[in-house]
């Protein structure tokens, strides 16, 4: 697998998981406790994916890890606000 198709595969992985999480969100749309757990799982998945992806592309640095952590946290905060009320 060349670098371009590898990059494409990893991008498709993110989209695939996004669709999967959306389906799970729909299934549990009335259960806010499960939705809160799912939000946390998405955040953890995203940060892990970001770190692995950066490591595979030899771009892993503390600032990049911090960026994935912060964007994951931003996504979680937005979901938390919407799920809290």
């Amino acid at each position: 697998m060349n670098k371009k198709s590898e990059h494409m595969f990893e991008s498709m992985l993110v989209i695939g998981f996004a669709i999967l999480f959306l389906i799970l969100f729909y299934i549990f749309r009335f259960d806010k406790n499960i939705l809160k757990v799912l939000s946390l799982v998405i955040t953890l998945f995203y940060v892990s994916w970001g770190i692995i992806h950066s490591a595979r592309e030899a771009r892993l640095a503390p600032s990049v890890v911090l960026e994935y952590l912060l964007f994951g946290l931003a996504g979680y905060s937005i979901l938390y606000l919407a799920l809290s009320f």
Binding site: I15, L22, S54, E67, F71, A74
Partner: protein, 346 residues
């Protein structure tokens, strides 16, 4: 803008005396566009900025928790729920499962209304009240002599179909809704203030009278529905500023009971509320959804601008995957806007 930054942009230094507007524009745009010299994201996408967004969101959530304690009833959940729809959706679900339709019963409806009012009065959200009053007590108070009885509760919903759908999604509530043991049902849809939030409580009580001949007729049901459609009430309640504890037996559990022994006592409560159009000053569900989408939209727009501008100017930055960040934020926005529904069942 610091001197160092100005020094890095010779065009601006050259013309700034003649064109101060250009400096202002540069100062403003500088926060939105990637930095060519430093090869980093825009100031509004810096790590510090993202931390500030997260803190702002937490602060907003805190304010929305604090307002009901200081000004009860200002925040709330808008709803347009009515008993006719609740009955219709419930019976549609039963018909789809090959079960008989439930008849709307006056006594069960009065008991449901008393239960809802009791929850507002005592500021609790549970099948059994803090002082130990059970759903069966309300049913027996109405002289409803039953073999089987059950209760489903809902709050903060905006539509009748969402309420029934939420009950159907929960196994224990679905068991009540689709139980062949019940012949009759009673509903109450009551507006009031619970835990400082203006909200609508929905109480659904199921029952099978001891004698089959006691089941309400179609005509009685039609009369009752007409009566219910003519009246509306609002329950005014005093709420402790810090809200009340949750006394629920176990979260997300419906409740049912078989064959009581105690003797019922007569009731003097008149039927009133039933359809609810609740309009609080600020609809907290809509407000939080709006704020969430605004934050998500703002950050993803900045990221899209980042991609476009970097490509145009050939800026190569050592950052994370922008496309992945946008995907995450789109997922969050899509979920909050299209999937998430307000409401809690018990």
């Amino acid at each position: 803008m610091s001197n160092m930054k100005l020094e890095k942009n010779p065009t601006i230094i050259k013309n700034w005396r003649n064109n101060p507007k250009a400096i202002d524009k540069f100062r403003f745009m500088y926060h939105f566009l990637p930095k060519e010299q430093e090869k980093t994201r825009a100031g509004l996408l810096s790590h510090k900025a993202i931390i500030i967004y997260c803190l702002l969101i937490v602060l907003i959530a805190g304010i929305f928790r604090l307002i009901p304690m200081v000004f009860p009833g200002v925040l709330g959940y808008a709803s347009n729920i009515n008993i006719e729809d609740l009955l219709s959706y419930t019976n549609n679900r039963r018909k789809q499962s090959g079960l008989s339709e439930l008849r709307l019963n006056r006594k069960l409806s009065i008991a449901a209304e008393k239960k809802a009012s009791h929850m507002f009065d005592k500021n609790y959200w549970a099948h059994i009240s803090p002082d130990g009053v059970e759903p069966w007590d309300f049913i027996l108070d109405e002289n409803y002599d039953y073999i089987y009885a059950g209760e489903n509760l809902a709050k903060n919903f905006s539509d009748s179909d969402d309420v029934v759908e939420a009950w159907m999604e929960s196994p224990s509530h679905r068991d009540n809704l689709l139980s062949p043991n019940y012949d009759e049902v009673g509903f109450a849809v009551v507006n009031g203030v619970l835990d400082g939030y203006e909200t609508t409580l929905v109480v659904q009580l199921f029952g099978r009278p001891r004698e089959k001949g006691q089941v309400a007729s179609v005509f009685q049901e039609q009369d009752l529905l007409k009566e219910l459609n003519q009246s509306k009430t609002e329950v005014a309640v005093s709420v402790p500023p810090n809200g009340g504890p949750d006394y629920s037996l176990s979260e997300k559990e419906s409740i049912s009971k078989e064959i009581p022994d105690s003797a019922p006592s007569p009731s003097s409560v008149s039927m009133t509320n039933t359809s609810s159009e609740n309009e609080p000053l600020i609809d907290v569900a809509m407000a939080t959804r709006g704020i969430s989408i605004a934050f998500g939209g703002f950050i993803s727009s900045l990221l899209a601008l980042d991609v476009w501008y970097s490509k145009r100017k050939g800026i190569l930055k050592f950052t994370g995957h922008t496309f992945a960040h946008i995907t995450l934020l789109f997922l969050v926005i899509f979920f909050v806007w299209f999937v998430l529904r307000p409401g809690v069942i018990l």
